[in-house]
Symmetry: C2
Subunit: 257 residues, 2 copies
């Protein structure tokens, strides 16, 4: 579901499904959540939810159908390689109720890529399989393309390849006003300024304040991240917050600590 905000700018939303037993077992530390989240910010699209699911068709189908319906865009990472545990394409096709077919352009890309690398085997040809009706997302690293089907973007799990696919998509998706953010740091325990944060957010419509505490060099501090799609509102909220922090006798550090 994409919200209509009170301001004229429409908010575009996205969800991400990270597919892979290796993330759920703790063996591999996911890097795609942060990578996709950061990229979406720049596109002016808000990441609303992430799910990490196993290499199991029912789990993938459930997540795909839940998330594609209520977001403008759905991204997936993982499970599009040549081996038996790569079941993302089959699961998404099942979720969509369409057949799986070999995409002629993907086949041509793979034939070309593997000409000097031992030829296009049956296993490698798996990487040309797409849900019927799909388009391709270029992959300049390893040949095997990503897949676009409607509002679904099916990408590789290896972060460097995912990065290339995101780069290929940069600027091609309709997005709303980017969410702007400013960070203000302060050597203060967040609990000491909880009222200030709440009141500042409340009195600045269209702004959100997140509070991120830390302990460094034996001292307690926090970074306060102010977010808004409106630059003027953001600046006013940051100014008020800085004044409020300084009224407690501490320095407000622009850019954060």
């Amino acid at each position: 579901m994409s919200d209509q905000s009170a301001t004229p700018a429409r908010i575009f939303t996205a969800a991400l499904i990270v597919i892979g037993d290796e993330i759920l077992s703790g063996r591999t530390h996911d890097k795609n959540i942060a990578q996709v989240a950061t990229w979406l910010q720049v596109q002016g699209i808000r990441l609303k939810e992430v799910r990490v699911v196993a290499d199991e068709e029912p789990a993938i189908i459930e997540a795909v159908n839940a998330l594609r319906a209520r977001n403008d865009y759905l991204f997936t990472t993982g499970g599009i390689g040549p081996t038996h545990d790569d079941i993302t394409v089959d699961a998404i096709a099942a979720a969509l109720g369409v057949a799986v077919e070999v995409h002629p352009e993907a086949r041509a890309i793979l034939e070309d890529y593997y000409t000097t690398r031992g030829g296009l085997t049956e296993a490698r040809l798996r990487m040309a399989r797409v849900p019927a009706g799909a388009d391709l997302i270029p992959n300049r690293f390893t040949g095997a393309p990503g897949i676009r089907w409607g509002n679904i973007f099916i990408m590789a799990g290896v972060p460097s390849i995912t990065a290339g696919m995101l780069e290929a998509l940069t600027g091609t998706l309709e997005g709303g006003a980017p969410l702007l953010s400013e960070t203000i740091g302060c050597w203060v325990g967040e609990s000491e300024v909880a009222d200030l944060l709440r009141q500042t957010e409340k009195s600045h419509e269209g702004c959100q304040i997140g509070s991120y505490p830390f302990w460094r060099e034996g001292r307690t501090g926090a970074n306060f991240v102010v977010r808004s799609t409106d630059a003027d509102r953001l600046a006013a909220c940051c100014a008020a917050l800085s004044l409020g922090l300084e009224a407690t006798g501490r320095a407000a550090v622009p850019g954060g600590i």
Copy 2:
């Protein structure tokens, strides 16, 4: 839903909800998924699904109610601090249909902790609020405890504090047979051995093989992770896979590359 496997050992499952706008915006790179996943493996509990949701009550409620019903355990990280954006306790209480109350022991812990740190303010007292009927999870770092309610474990978002709460829970949860794993590396493109992987998995009941390709030093390789709850089956599957890899003229590297 907890599966009953064909083997006598019951499989215990868990889900994790990571709560926080800062993860979805890409500002903070999540460390709790890998941390909780690794810890669960050691407890003999299988992580089935992770969701990352925003600091929004409806999103938290939906995820909590979906995941607590079909897993033996549900863990959450994030949103239990003293500031206005910390809404996890209220959202989970709403999901459970119970009131929020100040836990007397949590209050006492916080009073003690803040005695030498400026006293227990209204904001800090927020960290003693729990869904009615909850128990506490000790936090030896910063006083404010985690919360256990039924099969739900509500933990901090700061990874070092989460780690302390997990440590406090170690060995206290009923788990099944731990999932064992062995890694075999090989300097081979995974697509060249896709048939071998598929057939080896198929002929070794109770074993799963994951394939994780990489590119290093200008060469293509892969690590194959064989998983089973049965040590003998695991050993037999690894032996067969190693033989199969060596039959292609390459070395199978125990422990992975």
